[in-house]
Amino acid sequence: MKQYDLIIIGGGISGCAIARELSAYQLRVAVLEKNLDVATGTTKANGGIVHGGDDPQPGTLKAKLNVRGVELYPEYAKQLGFKYRETGSMVVGFNEEDLKYLEKLLDNGIKNGVKDIELVKDPKRIREIEPQCSKDAKYAVYCPHCGIVDPFEVAIAMCENAVENGVDFYLGEPVTKIEKKDNLFEITTPKDTYQCTYVIDAAGLHADDVARLAGIDEYNIIARHGDLLMLDKECGVKNLMPLYPIPSPESKGTVALSTLAGNVIVSATAVYREKDDTDSYADGIAQLIAGATKLVNGLNTRKVIRTFAGERAVCENNNNDFWIKPSATCENWFHVAGIQSPGVASAPALAEYVLNMLKENGVPFEKKENWNPIHKEPIDFSELSSEAQDKLIHEEPSYGKIVCRCETVTEGEIVAAIHRNPQATTVEAVKRRTRAGMGRCQSGFCQSKVVHILSRELGIPVEEVRLESKDSWLLAGEVKEGVTK
């Protein structure tokens, strides 16, 4: 049995942000994650937008955390070495009815404290702000401080910095049983049992199910499914700021934007479905294409390279707000649930809020003297200057071997990703850390190479290399036994 002061269940962006925040204190903290990598749930399948904060209803917790998150992101990005770009964003209107909505949205934004928010009524100025916006756009609410990130990169950086500061991450350990004995929680996974005083339940879509394992039944999570599309870097549009249509109560509607890597992402539909349904649906895909075509001028929607889907954890009967509070029935259990959109935008502020909540509830905090908030960003070969590339290859020749030709990812980067802490042990974990397989050939050329590097570096047979989850096998064994070199 392993003993901790505090255990976080769930290694999504919220769990990772909290882990990193708490790593500054003299507290023994662990994170239990059911999948083989962090950031594999809602965190890996969303638009990656640090939304401006105009959308949430004033007075809600998520309005507060969203706006505070926007303030915190630039500094977070610097400390943790992840890429963040302030792009600005526009919610675009096409007619007088839309204008009424935008006026309300502006009011919303001002009430939420969104800085420099502006209602643009001059179509010419709309095109000055974003030349690729639809020519039919007449009105827009402009949020200059909206930004973009790769959400899984943020979560991984937070996780790694937490580990550097003493937090333990246990991957591939789904919680199967929780008991409370003498004021201590005993949490069982298939591999071990963990004992702790405090639990933070950040288990995303399954936060309610995890709480029920501990006999806590205070809320329900339902899953709001969203289809997304990723387009080729060559799709007629470059550096597109996030463009939103007039939102619906369920979703911000089809948002189109350029990602940090230069692809265009179209995100996301909103349909209630079963938990863990991350299938793509044809009608959702069609809806996204129609939506993006309406918003963006010159987008070649035939250039889709990947369709995927995610689910947002929605706390039922909670006015679409986050559900972050101590359990009403079980002392020392804290809910971090219902983290739907803007979960990515709120993550740094959410961690700050959770820390204060813990303090208010008597969790003792004492600063670590040697806490290091700085996380060194991994080498991105394709971003280096020619001279730096040459120098790096001389130091380590594996940086001279291209594995993923579409995204210019070298063997050196892949090996480094595998040996970071925690290790990248799956093809998708390598992809999230290096972009190998994210390009237009979608790993057609590099998957076999990545599988072999994983096998070699981890010392496991190639047949044991997984795509993502524990049962996502790729290879069924040798064709002819005994002939492999």
Binding site: I305, R440, D471, A476
Partner: protein, 421 residues
């Protein structure tokens, strides 16, 4: 180390090797840059026979075909850089080009008068045709599965459904069957097969593998690994017909749904591309829109035979060498070449009045009987015999210089359909 060349060839498959050999024969100083550890390109994983019938007049496997070219290349002075990935091409003020690549030695830049682009093509993916359903392991492009089996000696699955009747898919159906893996069927969206007739016969019929036309995969089913796919019949507009869905249990979906020239480096170098081929726009010398940069093989347009690739690349290699050695004559009178549907594209896009022209093209749908009609302005300058045309076959229309004498500044290829009785 030598850093100045007449011709640099990018890519060491059948196109790159043939171009390099011919450029060397013309007396040019040639370097060839290949990203893999060995020459041969995709031929190395094509261990089936059927190569070389046209070019070597005997039947060879892919690696044998590649070896013939490697042997030829070794007789030349061509400098070969293996495991070397070209990252960019820059243009110098003196009209030359700078090719920058990396390998385990570092980052290198070589100056050259001419470049031959011969990077080949890649496969279309699940994302491009937007197959709905689960994001699970077990969806492979046919070429990746071929690599796993033929190069790595690994089985990518046990029970397969193949979508697309392109040649790679058909060949993989046979390969999987021969190696004891089960192929449930090949499904094709179009009402006709896309691969060569001989492959339908040798790879499917001989192995009792059913080919389902006008049917496509509409959903991938599974939790972690493919557990089944849903297939649905499509109507004449290629739209799924509700009520015809069928669930086929399998653990692997192979995609053989088309090839796309890989022109990342070309477009970064400013080479204009033809949206109909995804390859460069070239003239009759296979020179692209950028002076001194040539293109041939599958990076120019997707061929069905390596033999054709080799022949096209030989011409291109000679032309690149002529250009580098200052032997190229300025074209006297350029003719724009265009084509009408159902001809999908032509290579080249321009030709010259004083020369015989070879115009390559593909049709977009099968034509039972049609006459090739070549016009210039409102004048008909050529009419071919009635015959059939298939999308799976790359055609070559020869036009003698004599006929082009009467042309204006353009020629247009059309197929005049015969009314079927």
């Amino acid at each position: 180390m030598k850093t100045n060349y007449d011709v640099i060839v990018i890519g060491g498959g059948p196109a790159g090797m043939a171009a390099a050999i011919e450029a060397d024969k013309k007396g040019a100083q040639v370097a060839l840059v290949e990203r893999n550890e060995e020459l041969g390109g995709i031929l190395n994983q094509c261990i089936h026979p059927g190569f070389g019938l046209k070019y070597f007049k005997e039947e060879l496997t892919g690696p044998e075909y590649a070896q013939r070219l490697i042997n030829e290349l070794e007789k030349t002075k061509v400098e070969v850089f293996l495991s070397s990935m070209v990252l960019e091409i820059n243009h110098l003020e003196n009209g030359n080009h700078l090719v920058s690549f990396i390998n385990e030695e570092g980052r290198l830049s070589l100056e050259t008068k001419a470049i031959v682009l011969a990077m080949g093509c890649r496969e279309r993916t699940r994302g491009e045709i937007k197959i709905p359903g689960a994001r699970v392991a077990g969806v492979y492009t046919a070429g990746l599965a071929q690599r796993y089996i033929n190069m790595d000696n690994l089985k990518p699955g046990t029970r397969f459904v193949i979508l697309g009747s392109g040649d790679i898919g058909l060949i993989m159906a046979r390969r999987l069957s021969l190696e004891g893996m089960k192929v449930e069927g090949v499904y094709e969206l179009m009402p006709y097969a896309n691969g060569l007739f001989r492959n339908i016969k040798n790879c499917l019929e001989d192995f009792g593998i059913p080919l389902h036309l006008s049917t496509t995969v509409t959903r991938v089913i599974g939790k972690d690994r493919v557990e089944a796919v849903e297939v649905t019949k499509v109507d004449e507009n290629l739209q799924p017909i509700d009520g015809t869905q069928e669930i086929i249990p399998c653990d692997t979906l192979l995609l053989s749904i088309g090839l796309i020239p890989e022109n990342e480096i070309s477009s970064k170098a400013g080479v204009a591309l033809n949206p109909a081929t995804n390859g460069a726009i070239v003239d009759d010398n296979f020179e692209t829109s950028v002076k001194g940069i040539f293109s041939c093989g599958n990076v120019l347009h997707v061929h069905d035979l390596a033999d054709n690739v080799t022949q096209e690349a030989e011409k291109t290699g000679r032309n690149a060498a002529s250009y580098a050695l200052g032997e190229t004559k300025e074209a006297e009178a350029k003719l724009q070449v265009s084509a009408n549907f159902p001809i999908g594209y032509t290579v080249p896009s321009t030709t010259q009045k004083n020369q015989n022209a070879s115009i390559y093209f593909r049709v977009r749908k099968p034509i039972e009987e049609a006459e090739m009609v070549i016009t210039s302005g409102d004048k008909e300058i050529f009419r071919g015999k009635p015959r059939s045309y298939k999308p799976s076959i790359m055609e070559c229309q020869m036009v003698p210089a004599k006929l082009l004498e009467n042309a204006t500044d353009e020629i247009t290829l059309s197929l005049e359909m015969k009314e079927s009785a």
